[in-house]
């Protein structure tokens, strides 16, 4: 069965590329700045957030704009990517109803598209780091490691949500609320220090926080995180991905009635 799935994947791979290209074109259809928006919009938000919060967290965060930018980058990718993957069956209904194809391709394509946006934003991120004179060390070249973990985690989460969201449209609205709560529970715009020590272990259960701290350590603080952190991060991704694939495979045969 595994071999058959792999075969399927290889056969339809050009189709996946074509779908990603299509989504990319559609995203910036008739927009003048196009892809520059994914570089600009976090920058604009960063300015506002820095004006509001940088004095409040001056003591614990030396480079607040960079701190906020990195947090927003990772968090936004996870939540937007998974939410779009959740809706991907409904948005691509016309193609799914036409012929047989691996349905999870649309989850991959939406998450990959978001990931490409992250790569564009990264250009701005590194530029911002240079502008603010963040001391960069050699460790920065490993920045892609947490990003790969985040990608797999988002894909798994997206597939899991998609398996249920296709049947239960309420999940979309529920997830919008959950997203906001998750945002406040993740140290994006505040430092982890403001959480009382006895509760901090709860924050450390949050996978986004783990990815974020690895990413910040590598790119901002110039530290190499411990091996343990890397292992936990990868475990989170792999387990979520397996969970996503299993749930999706179980439910996908019944999708056609709901799209």
């Amino acid at each position: 069965m595994f071999k058959k799935s792999l075969n399927d994947f290889m056969n339809y791979f050009p189709f996946l590329i074509e779908v990603i290209k299509r989504d990319f074109k559609k995203k910036y259809y008739k927009s003048i700045l196009g892809v520059a928006w994914s570089m600009l919009s976090p920058l604009l938000l960063m300015v506002v957030m820095s004006i509001v919060f940088s004095t409040a967290f001056k003591r614990s965060i030396p480079y607040y704009p960079v701190y906020w930018f990195s947090g927003n980058l990772i968090f936004n990718f996870v939540t937007t990517g998974s939410q779009m993957a959740m809706n991907s069956m409904v948005t691509n209904a016309s193609l799914l109803k036409k012929m047989r194809m691996p349905k999870y391709f649309f989850c991959i394509s939406t998450v990959t598209l978001q990931f490409i946006m992250v790569l564009f934003s990264l250009v701005t991120y590194f530029a911002v780091e240079l502008i603010f004179g963040v001391p960069i060390t050699f460790n920065i070249i490993f920045f892609f490691v947490p990003l790969i973990d985040v990608y797999l985690f988002t894909l798994g989460l997206g597939m899991f949500l998609c398996a249920y969201g296709t049947f239960l449209r309420d999940l979309e609205y529920l997830y919008t609320i959950a997203r906001r709560m998750w945002m406040y529970l993740t140290p994006i715009f505040y430092p982890i220090d403001i959480i009382p020590t006895q509760f901090r272990f709860l924050w450390e259960l949050n996978p986004i926080y783990i990815y974020l701290s690895i990413f910040r350590d590598l790119t901002m603080n110039g530290i190499m995180p411990s091996e343990r952190t890397f292992i936990i991060a990868t475990l989170y991704s792999v387990i979520t991905l397996i969970l996503g694939i299993v749930t999706f495979k179980e439910k996908e045969d019944r999708f056609f009635l709901y799209i």
Binding site: E18, Y29, M101, R169
Partner: protein, 278 residues
């Protein structure tokens, strides 16, 4: 397991006894005892409220609808098979099951070869993309490279008569244009099997003629065609064999002429009691 018990018993009566024995390597589509069931009550279950109500009610809320029951037939390579029957008899469901969009509850379908489906008259396209982009997307869907599609591109556009609308989004097309494009793509991607669901209903007479010629040409070339239409003369013209479905079951199958005549007879009979009083 009670469902399968009742189903299996009925099965033999739908196999034609005098059907010639076909060799396995000749068989293109093998539909073996296929049943498709929809859960009508679950269909509307799109909100939390309904979901929980159904959950509490449990299986009481189930309203099973068997769209197809114990369908068995084989199609040889290069054959042309028509599916006829009234609205709601399961023709489209059967086509969707064969093309792999719907998974049967029971039974098995073996398809040897690639399928080009023409199932929804206005669907199957990404409506915000242009005709050109849709052609390449469909090509990729059929596993063709961009290079290959570039070679066939002019042919597709020419057949669909859309030279002036190459870069226009499909959402701005008329239904005739969409069906022309769909037909042109499906017949140009070199698929082994073409599944056509009332695709010729929209085009004008001239285009219909063109399509019929194209289909005849492809049949000569060894393509298998599954065809659904409500126009019996058209079915007679295109297909050699026919399967008559009613309420999800096979009523009869065999040579097109014979089956179509029986079907027309049946329609005349069933019309009488429902005639509106004037």
């Amino acid at each position: 397991m009670e469902i399968s018990k009742t189903g299996r018993e009925l099965q033999p009566q739908y196999i034609i006894d005098d059907a010639p024995e076909v060799k396995d390597d000749d068989v293109c589509i093998d539909v073996n005892d296929v049943s498709v069931m929809f859960n009508l009550s679950k269909n509307s279950e799109e909100g939390v409220k309904e979901y929980f109500i159904n959950m509490i009610k449990g299986k009481v809320a189930f309203n099973e609808f068997w769209a197809l029951r114990n369908i068995t037939f084989k199609v040889k390579k290069g054959d042309s098979l028509a599916l006829i029957g009234r609205n709601g008899s399961g023709k489209s469901t059967l086509l969707k099951t064969i093309s792999g969009i719907i998974k049967p509850v029971r039974g098995e379908i073996t398809v040897n070869g690639s399928i080009a489906p023409l199932i929804e008259i206005n669907g199957g396209f990404d409506r915000s993309l242009s005709a050109k982009e849709n052609i390449f997307l469909s090509g990729a869907m059929h596993g063709h490279t961009k290079k290959y599609m570039k070679r066939r591109f002019d042919e597709i556009i020419e057949f669909a008569e859309l030279e002036k609308f190459v870069n226009v989004p499909v959402k701005n097309f008329s239904s005739g244009m969409v069906s022309r494009l769909g037909f042109a793509i499906a017949t140009c991607v070199n698929a082994d099997i073409i599944i056509a669901d009332e695709v010729l209903a929209v085009g004008d007479a001239k285009f219909k003629q063109k399509c019929e010629n194209r289909i005849a040409e492809m049949l000569k070339g060894g393509t298998t065609i599954l065809f659904v239409s409500h126009s019996t003369p058209q079915v007679k013209k295109i297909c050699k064999k026919a399967v008559w479905l009613d309420k999800g079951k096979i009523v009869d199958m065999g040579e097109t002429g014979e089956i179509c005549d029986k079907y027309t007879e049946f329609l005349k009979l069933s019309k009488k009691p429902t005639r509106i009083r004037s």
